[in-house]
Symmetry: C2
């Protein structure tokens, strides 16, 4: 019943330490994606953003983007799922086109986090976790991830210096990424001697606060079949888990990620090993092995081996963070899912330059909100 | 290609001056709607809220509601379109079911505004307008509406005492509304002598800041056909306009409302006069005539006659605000669209008690974000 849907345009604005305005950020990525799709109009606009109201004062980003593009009265709205807002917005647009309601849509993920102090940003971001049962009790978002990391290091036969190799890989890929924020290579020793943020999480275990926007134009098969470089959405899975850690049976199992992946892969009629590129939500180094395990790529407690065995390199079995990941491309929270989808699109079009994964034909994009309370997974496939 | 979709459950929590918690508000309406639908599970959850992060600290309402209902890993996300967030969330769920992606969904609109001072609430609400070009320049949301009202009173042959009759009508209907906040009748003289908020807007021209939640269960035709009281979604129109007043050709024309209504009515294959009940976004008294004019129910500049001619009464030609409207039921911003849809559902089921519009078979629900920058319109029809 649902129609096939494809990506026919994609663009990512350079991630910045401080962009002048959320509207200009969103406009730049949106205009570039429309140009990439060779379209001047779309049937709908969906914006993904976590907390534009708190970060910038500006709610109501749907009509803001429509207005900036001079596309009113086009239908437009915003979708929020904390740090998974970008992928959730993509999901809403995908379903709306598949339904036949719209033939094309622009999806823009945007966040401008630099307008508030780091302390205020930390308080805003904590709202992705359970505010009453975790945040009000003193938990910060980094603190929650520190608990997970401590438990991972304690339960499994792995050292911090092995986890930090995920950061080293991300920084290596960011060096040649056209839109990454942190273009500086780092060694394990340098990363391990960075300052402690929330023990055992060190600075190089964390993704940075920053500003960014990334956009995609989606279209129904009737439109997309005219595009040789179209990238098809073959599977979509959205799943939730409890807001609080204390309600989960196991701190080290991302149930929603496993379930969302199963749904998306089943739709795509693929096995996880069939995928050529994996863009995953590496917001903290410990999340990477947990995600790789949740996808079924490694047994529980062994995801960390992906880094030390070299499998995550661009020419490895499980290439991840191919443009720097959240760690080094940057993590403008509500925009991140859209950066991941744009990066996967570049890979599947063979346009990733120095960051190209050889013969990439399929990609899995995994985006997380909160401490795994929302997971959105998409499976993409190249036309060629 | 799209499937028919119907409302099979609906519930509205009493609008309150101060609710203890956003999660309890959302849970109450959600549980009641699921019970009304005689369902224990749905395929997806969509939450509508304008600014839960700023009002309560809690973002990420999708998994919060899923978690509270013990329905994880159900897919869940939040939709925002300022004061049209409720209807926009309903739209996303409607399209997702029509597409075949999901067979049922819970939609919950919720806002808890009472946790901040009125001054802070005023600043948050202003984020529905253009933050950089209007709010930063000193405009408040009430101030923007005062400009519109001054212009309406100046351009057309109408007095303030005639506009305020819309408030009198809303208060009259709220007296017997089971979930309205302001259950007190008011006379024209009393309303006209209330204090000035932003000249010429007086207190009784404004809807109140408050807390509330309303929920609906939507289902595909295969499921809904077993429900005698199902209310069908016959048309949906979402449209945008510029964020700033200075970019519009006319301060007194709601273009997006006209366009959204045309789309929704065309889908429903109906004329606007065919509708039996109109729930419209009466956030300020002056908005009511503008909306009635945008829908084509009155010529430009004559919408105010609806009140003085008595046509808006429950047994009139254009019954509006049948449970008190935004003015007297209350306007918990991101929940309002869902209150309107729940109220229309009660009307079409013939369950509106003392507030029943005689022989109501079809309803038009109009919900506005910002100063008309987002308009969502839905056409509903009873089964019987």
């Amino acid at each position: 019943m649902m129609r096939d849907v494809a990506i026919i345009g994609a663009a990512a604005a350079p991630v910045q330490k401080r962009a002048p305005s959320i509207r200009e950020l969103a406009l730049r990525a949106s205009v570039d994606a429309l140009a990439d799709a060779r379209l001047e109009h779309v049937d709908a606009i969906v914006v993904g953003s976590m907390a534009s109201g708190e970060f910038t004062g500006q709610h109501h980003l749907g009509p803001l983007v429509a207005d900036q593009l001079h596309l009113t009265p086009v239908p437009a709205l915003r979708v929020e799922a904390a740090c998974a807002s970008g992928s959730a917005a993509f999901h809403v647009a995908h379903v709306a086109i598949a339904s036949g309601m719209y033939d094309s849509a622009l999806v823009t993920g945007v966040e401008r986090m630099s307008g508030v102090s780091t302390a205020v940003a930390s308080r805003i971001l904590a709202g992705a976790a359970d505010y009453e049962y975790e945040v009000e009790q003193g938990a910060s978002f980094v603190g929650l991830n520190a608990m997970v990391m401590r438990r991972y290091l304690s339960d499994f036969d792995v050292g911090h210096d092995q986890l930090i190799q995920f950061a080293v890989n991300a920084h290596r890929n960011a060096l040649t990424s056209p839109h990454a924020l942190l273009k500086a290579s780092v060694t394990v020793d340098e990363a391990m001697s960075s300052r402690v943020v929330a023990d055992p999480v060190r600075l190089y275990d964390c993704s940075p606060i920053c500003d960014g926007a990334a956009s995609i134009v989606l279209a129904a098969d009737e439109v997309a079949q005219d595009y040789d470089e179209a990238v098809w959405v073959r599977g979509a899975g959205l799943a939730t888990d409890t807001m609080s850690f204390h309600d989960r049976s196991d701190l080290l199992t991302l149930d929603a990620s496993r379930i969302a992946a199963e749904r998306a892969l089943e739709q795509a009629q693929m096995a996880v090993d069939d995928v050529d590129v994996y863009e995953i939500h590496d917001a903290f180094t410990v999340m990477t092995p947990l995600i790789l395990e949740s996808l079924g790529l490694y047994p529980k407690g062994e995801g960390w081996r992906a880094a030390s065995d070299g499998e995550i390199a661009l020419d490895g079995r499980v290439p991840i963070s191919t443009f720097g990941g959240l760690k080094a491309r940057g993590h403008p929270v509500g925009a991140t899912g859209m950066y991941q989808l744009v990066e996967a699109t570049h890979q599947l079009r063979g346009e990733a330059g120095s960051n190209q994964v050889p013969a990439a034909h399929t990609a899995l994009v995994q985006n997380m909100g909160g401490t795994g309370s929302t997971i959105a997974i998409h499976i993409l496939e190249a036309t060629r």
